[in-house]
């Protein structure tokens, strides 16, 4: 009996017609596409996007070259060289680079930083135009931090109760 049922189903394309009916109905349903540059999905303040190095309000860079971020980075994307700063002899990074092609945006660097220096911002739509541009230098990271400090500070304050 089940064999005949099977034959019936096969020759009358029962299941295939059910599938066609489904796609037919979907043809007229509301479309869910987000038109990106004009429309955006909501973002969490925890969003892990482009990196930035922050400064204190007095303009002093936060990073103390402890190299915790370099050590914790699972993708080995961070390269740090440290030394005393010429003007006052404090320990600072002489080189701080993140290879954005290696980075997996895990956020561990931000977690590990004792002075909230390296952070990940909510910026996700950036691009590189030349080979080599993917390696962000200390200057670039500090510049990003300066530019978006207000936004970064707000995001961190909003997220602070949960950490």
């Amino acid at each position: 009996m089940s064999k005949w049922k099977h034959y019936f189903k096969t020759y009358f394309l029962t299941e295939l017609r059910a599938g066609l009916w489904l796609t037919w109905k979907h043809l007229f349903k509301r479309k869910v596409t987000i038109q990106f540059p004009e429309e955006q999905t909501p973002q969490s303040p925890r969003f892990r996007g482009l990196h930035a190095l922050r400064r204190y309000p007095n303009g002093e860079e936060r990073c103390i070259a402890c190299k915790l971020c370099e050590a914790v980075c699972p993708a080995a994307a961070i390269t740090i060289e440290a030394g005393p700063r010429e003007s006052d002899g404090t320990r600072r990074t002489t080189k701080y680079e993140i290879d954005m092609f290696k980075c997996i945006y895990c956020g561990f660097c931000e977690e590990s930083c004792p002075v909230d220096s390296i952070v990940e911002t909510r910026i996700f739509d950036y691009h590189f135009e030349k080979r080599g541009d993917n390696i962000l230098t200390k200057e670039q990271l500090l510049a990003i931090g300066d530019r978006y400090e207000v936004m970064i500070a707000e995001d961190k304050a909003e997220d602070a109760p949960y950490r």
């Binding site: 295939l16 599938g19 066609l20 489904l22 796609t23 037919w24 979907h26 043809l27 349903k29 509301r30 479309k31 869910v32 596409t33 038109q35």
Partner: protein, 358 residues
């Protein structure tokens, strides 16, 4: 016929070819657009909508992009054959249009072997595929072309049988005569007596054009892009063009063979027939073909790809037996003159002609 007459005649034929090909290429371009839009809509997306209003210029942008790209010939490829293959693939799919009647009088070549010519043209395209796969000097391309070859060859048998049924029903190999044989009303069309054949023909047609769910020769997830994996730029565009031209051809042929071609679907219905009498037959044909084109896209949006052995099983163990059985049924149907489809072609007519001859 003097020389001048010959020249004007030749030019006239060339003009007619251009009149068929230009709209065809435009139709191909916008079929790709329709496909992307429709599949997008069926997947609750919007599809291309950035180039021009509502994305209307998207196909034009695609063409320009493909034209500007370099045609890369892989090292170790047979250069002559590599460049010849796309042409071998596209030429038959364009040539087949020569016998397609767009209206009672609107046909490039009103030949009596139209059906045979069509079969020949659709089969010859497989050479392009095989040569493309072989000349590319790439494993994926070779596997893709072999798959394509065996698939086209197997489905051609079912398709050939289906065309035999059409030939029996229409009583002619001329496409125009086949359509004329369906004259009467929408119930006179061959889709009723030939319904199983219609299904077989349609599905074989989808398989012949290597469309989803029978797109094993391309099989992106298994063999990248099959036989045209090594092609870029214009050479790739030719394959693309041919595939879509074939799709349109199969849709038009289905409309011609089973749905009365250019005949008005409201024929024989009071009020509706006179009200629609002003619509030219070509429009009806194109509307019917557009529906089948939509069906092809719809199938692609709905079904996952077949497994290879399932494709072969379907072709050899289901379609060929079904068509053969229906050929026998059809023979009785025609000879006993059931219904109104085959008037004057049954036994009574036979007896008359035999009696008249003796």
């Amino acid at each position: 016929m003097d020389f001048m007459q010959l020249v004007t005649e030749g030019l006239w034929i060339v003009a007619k070819i251009v009149m068929i090909l230009l709209p065809l290429i435009l139709a191909v371009a916008y079929t790709t657009y329709a496909e992307r839009k429709l599949i997008g809509y069926m997947q609750l997306r919007l599809g291309p909508n950035r180039v021009g209003p509502k994305g209307w210029l998207q196909p034009i942008a695609d063409v320009i992009k493909l034209l500007m790209k370099e045609v890369v010939v892989p090292s170790g490829a047979n250069k002559t054959l590599f460049l010849l293959a796309p042409i071998l693939f596209i030429a038959p799919s364009f040539a087949a249009w020569a016998v397609v009647p767009f209206d009672a009088e609107l046909v490039l070549s009103d030949t009596n072997a139209g059906l045979l010519y069509l079969l020949a043209m659709t089969s010859i395209a497989v050479y392009g595929v095989i040569i493309a796969g072989w000349a590319s000097n790439s494993r994926y391309a070779l596997i893709g072309s072999l798959r394509s070859a065996s698939q086209i060859v197997s489905y051609e048998i079912a398709m050939g049988f289906a065309l035999v049924a059409v030939l029996m029903a229409g009583g002619s190999m001329n496409l125009g005569d086949i359509v004329e044989a369906q004259n009467g009303s929408a119930l006179h069309w061959f889709w009723i007596p030939l319904f199983p054949i219609l299904v077989v023909y349609w599905i074989s047609g989808v398989a012949e054009t290597n469309r989803a769910p029978f797109d094993l020769p391309e099989g992106e997830s298994e063999i990248v892009a099959g036989f045209h994996v090594e092609y870029a730029g214009m050479a790739f565009a030719l394959f693309f063009l041919a595939e879509y031209a074939n799709m349109i051809l199969i849709s038009v042929l289905t409309a011609l063979f089973f749905f009365g071609g250019w005949l008005n679907p409201f024929q024989g219905i009071p009020y509706l027939e006179p009200a629609t009498a002003w619509i030219p037959g070509t429009i009806w044909l194109l509307l019917k073909a557009a529906w089948f084109l939509f069906m092809m896209i719809w199938l692609r949006a709905t079904f996952p790809r077949y497994r290879y052995d399932q494709i072969m099983r379907l072709g050899w163990k289901v379609f060929i037996p079904v068509t053969v059985v229906w050929l026998i049924v059809l023979t009785f149907w025609i000879k006993l003159e059931w219904g109104w489809w085959f008037d004057g072609r049954g036994l009574a007519q036979l007896a008359q002609t035999v009696g008249g001859a003796s």
